[in-house]
Amino acid sequence: MSKPAARPSPPVSDEVRQTTCYMCACRCGINVHLDGGKVKYIEGNRDHPVNRGVLCAKGSAGVMQHLSPARLRAPLRRTGPRGSGQFEEISWDEAYAIAEGWLRPLRETAPERLAFFTGRDQSQSFTGLWAQAFGTPNYAAHGGFCSVNMAAAGIYTLGGAFWEFGQPDWERTKLLLLFGVAEDHDSNPIKIGLGQLKERGARVIGINPIRTGYNAIADDWFGITPGTDGLFIGALIHELLRAGKIDLDYLARYTNAPFLVNAEPGHEDEGLFLRDADGKALVRDRATGALCPFDTPGLRADLAADLRHEGVRHRSALSLLADAYLSDRYAPETVAPTCGIEAGRIRALAAELARVAFEEEIVVEQPWTDWKGERHDRMIGRPVSMHAMRGISAHSNGFQTCRALHILQILLGSVEVPGGFRFKPPYPKPVEAHPRPHGTARPGQPLDGPHLGYPLGPEDLLIDDEGKALRIDKAFTWEHPLSAHGLMHMVISNAHAGDPYRIDTLFLYMANMAWNSSMNTAETMAMLTDTDENGDYVIPHIIYSDAYASEMVAYADLILPDTTYLERHDCISLLDRPICEADAAADAIRWPVVEPDRDVKGFQTALVELGARLGLPGFVNDDGTAKYRDYADYIVNHERRPGIGPLAGWRGPDGEAQGRGAPNPDQLRRYIENGGFWIAHIPEEARFYKPWNAAYQDWAVKIGLFDAAQPFVFNLYAEPLRRFQRAAEGHGDIQPPEHLRARIRTAFTPIPEWYPPYEETAVDPDAFPLHALTQRPMHMYHSWGSQNAWLRQITNAHKLYLPAEVWEAEGFREGDWAYVTSAHGRIKVPVARMDALNGKTLWTWNAIGKRRGAWALDPDAPEATRGFLLNHLIGELLPPRGDGMRWANSDPVTGQAAWFDLRVKVEKAPPGPPTEPAFPPLSSPVGRGPAIVRFGEEFK
């Protein structure tokens, strides 16, 4: 009997449109298949530099995101009390009029009374420009609660960070160390890379309290105790120094290891570099004994220098580093108990690092010329690479831990070399080439410069003469001087407290602040709804742009509904967070592959319109008419500097220019024809040693990444930190307030020194003996996934995993529930046992728990009854100290939210749902999702 075979060659779709995914920040290229004008199927774009055809679970589920029942339908005006979720739909004209009515008077009188924070923004160069034009100093995206430790430590040390700004040399590396990474932004590239390593038989080592995901496939697992990586890395450095396994040539040429540091105790310039009259740091030439500027060609820099200059002792930065790390404090035996890792394993890992770096060195036969004009016959690589993410950065000692990690890489000579860690253009870029922060608001005027930047010393702080913060989030103050990404997590509580001042309008975009992105969630909701003695809201106006009925929507007064990512223009720009590769510069667009079927608008287009209505400079022509029709028009025609715009591809009137060139009206069409992205490959000679490679510098200038070549050295020793530390010691005009001096002295060491995470010292370790962490599920993006019919089935309920030790000690059984208590609060959750877990650590998946009634889900959805957040346990402030002061639960250097410092205790609870705390349900502005989904029916 013959079988009716499946039709072997069905047509897949009518049409494929290529754009960029936005189910997360990785920004992969996608092929969107349309059938009868409807989105049918999404797959990865094989030609795209980011994902090369693959797609993650979220990306493939984009269809369901696009069809989510939680999509907003039209602008909304609040009708019930804040937090109720009651709204009426209004027209865009009404919405603009309301917003304009609130914002215009602020701009004219006190622009700082607008706080504009933009969450998971992929258009920061645009939203920042808007805020600058408005004149408020209060602008940032979400980096402050995300990974600014990583970003800042990277910039101050290497001129660039891990994150998505660099990558292991996946093709060549032989040993990869992953510190505290569950998923990261470079979601698909990391997976592709790990797959490549596995295929080549290269080794992967996971340093993580939890052994899932990437750490599960790592060949070796170091189940470190949270917050102690600084010690662990210190011990590796200790071992390498002891054995002399460091790359002296690399250190001498490419780093500030030979810089001469004033080592005269008590001297006014103690800890600062010896500089010549031009301000150039000096080093000692071993050949001549002379002190010369560090960039002198032909110099043999003395890494061991210890000399007196004009009677003042100066020592090389490397020798100070040796003092610090060869101390017993960092001996493997000393750190072992704190880190929860045997000393022998630490020693063995150090030995392995040394062996692979120095005995398995690799060579790329490619001559190149360095910044001093010296020609090198070949490129020598140390095939050891590292990658790290929030596991080390989301601690209050994270900045220094990240720095320590970079120092480990530098000592091994494995940054920007074949087989090591490689940057993606436009990184690395010296910290000096990054902007300084600006925060001076003037009525009716734009801000004096870009909001965010990298302070080089106390004079760059944004404080007034009394030391009071200029910004609502108190970024760039003594509390966290290097808060390069702002502190979005402090905005609501500061605005509520009126400290440093009151604001009028809180304008948020794409951030679920009433739920998973806040610490102290219940309190945040209370602050958003709190009223003053007149019964008015303490934060008078809240405007919010979301695409979906999230928890945050319920707490705003005016909602500007965004489109889904398949319905709007977007631009993934080199001015912002580009999608470059180590071997190429690249940028990309999104474009409406389908038109919205409802009254929603791309948020950026709404901002363009609002900017024009408010007459913001840069948004109106001289005659006051709107400068841009919409965001697409802006993308094509805006010029940041002459010839430099949001997109680098197909510039110039004929579209032939790359990087630099006049706006090209046809630019977006060219992008679309090319699959939605543009890529320019780095010339062969320029691929490695980027900061010191003349060919790279020239190329970067040519395509407009920089305006001038800017070779620099890596900062083993971070002089800017010393400037703050010095101020805390009582030097200089601008000094920290008394209560912060001690902590600045210990936290701002120019050579990283480990200190225990703050929560550990603020709470009784016996009362809260355990650490509690979250991890990102690879198939969910924060709170977005739960509205997705496919993704939510994978994880709509979750458990808190307890290590065997705790499980047995407390007598837990399968199906049990527990109370988890921190100094801040208590939750009730279901628990499960896990053995492949650090013995002092509990963990769960992040952001699965949902508020009842949100996201168009049934109020009894498991997300609400069995899902939960650890956020209820985490305070944005630490418990009061002896002196009554309350420190922020943040890194003292950058203000990074210390999510992973959390200490808890756990005990049995009566079994069964719901999880606690349980909040009253929200009413849904979009109703509920359909009972049954049969996606695909319409195409049969």
Binding site: G213, A243, A322, M778, W790, F935
Partner: protein
């Protein structure tokens, strides 16, 4: 016909590398996305999609197991994708009363002809691997088709004529090919990495193979030697450094 072919010309199947799978569920969703819009066959429905008790049809699911080594080593986690193994002795086929289930003689793919299926569920009972799911909305049996509508699809470029799950897997943990041909890439992988059949005791002779995770936590007692006497003290280190720089 529900009798099995005695031999098949090819044995197409998947080889899944448990050493590389990070458990990301990409293959799960790509499979759902492709197969729910498949040209023939009912959609893979999701019942109570936004409610308290969602139940949808998936042809591929990823479990996470914890394995505690017998020798007392550290426990480890293995992510484990599970779909139809296109068994040579497929019991799901022989039990089917309607002839809806069949195994193709040309390539060994096990399929369900939904036009014939009466939804009795017996084939799912017969499958040891949980690879068949009855779609609750359509009432017909669903299973992995090995993306038969992709692998021969002349409307797709050559490179895309692989299963959706294989094409999408970011880590490259899924391989597709002819396991009947000892020279094929997949057969070589199986030979080199000691590829396993699941539950051989069930006698199903699965075509798909799993590559076991490689050994982990291989401890060494390597230890670096001091660079020079006293180099474990800053002063000794600086002395060593000085000598090294002299020699450079």
């Amino acid at each position: 016909m529900t009798s099995l072919p005695t031999t098949t010309e090819r044995k197409l199947g998947l080889v899944i590398d448990l050493d590389t799978c990070v458990g990301c569920h990409a293959c799960v969703v790509a499979c759902k996305g492709w197969n729910t819009v498949a040209d023939d066959g009912a959609p893979l429905s999701d019942v109570d999609a936004y409610g308290p008790d969602p139940v949808g049809t998936f042809l591929n699911r990823v479990h996470s197991f914890e394995v505690t080594p017998d020798d007392g080593g550290a426990a480890r986690v293995v992510h484990f994708p599970r779909s139809c193994l296109h068994c040579e002795d497929a019991p799901c086929v022989t039990v089917c009363p309607t002839g809806a289930s069949f195994k193709r003689a040309e390539d060994g793919i096990v399929l369900v002809n939904e036009d014939d299926c009466m939804g009795c569920g017996l084939c799912a009972w017969a499958c040891p691997y949980g690879a068949r799911e009855l779609d609750l909305a359509a009432g017909v049996m669903k299973k992995c088709t090995l993306c038969v509508d992709r692998i021969y699809n002349e409307n797709l470029p050559d490179a895309d004529r692989v299963p959706a799950c294989v094409r999408t897997c970011p880590a490259g943990a899924r391989h597709f090919g002819d396991l009947g041909d000892p020279e094929s890439e997949v057969s070589r992988l199986v030979a080199a990495r000691d590829g396993m059949a699941l539950m051989p005791e069930c006698g199903t002779k699965p075509v798909n193979r799993y590559l076991p995770p490689r050994p982990r936590d291989v401890t060494s007692d390597e230890r670096l030697d001091d660079a020079a006497e006293g180099s474990d003290r800053p002063s000794g280190f600086l002395g060593w450094l000085d000598r090294m720089l002299e020699a450079l």
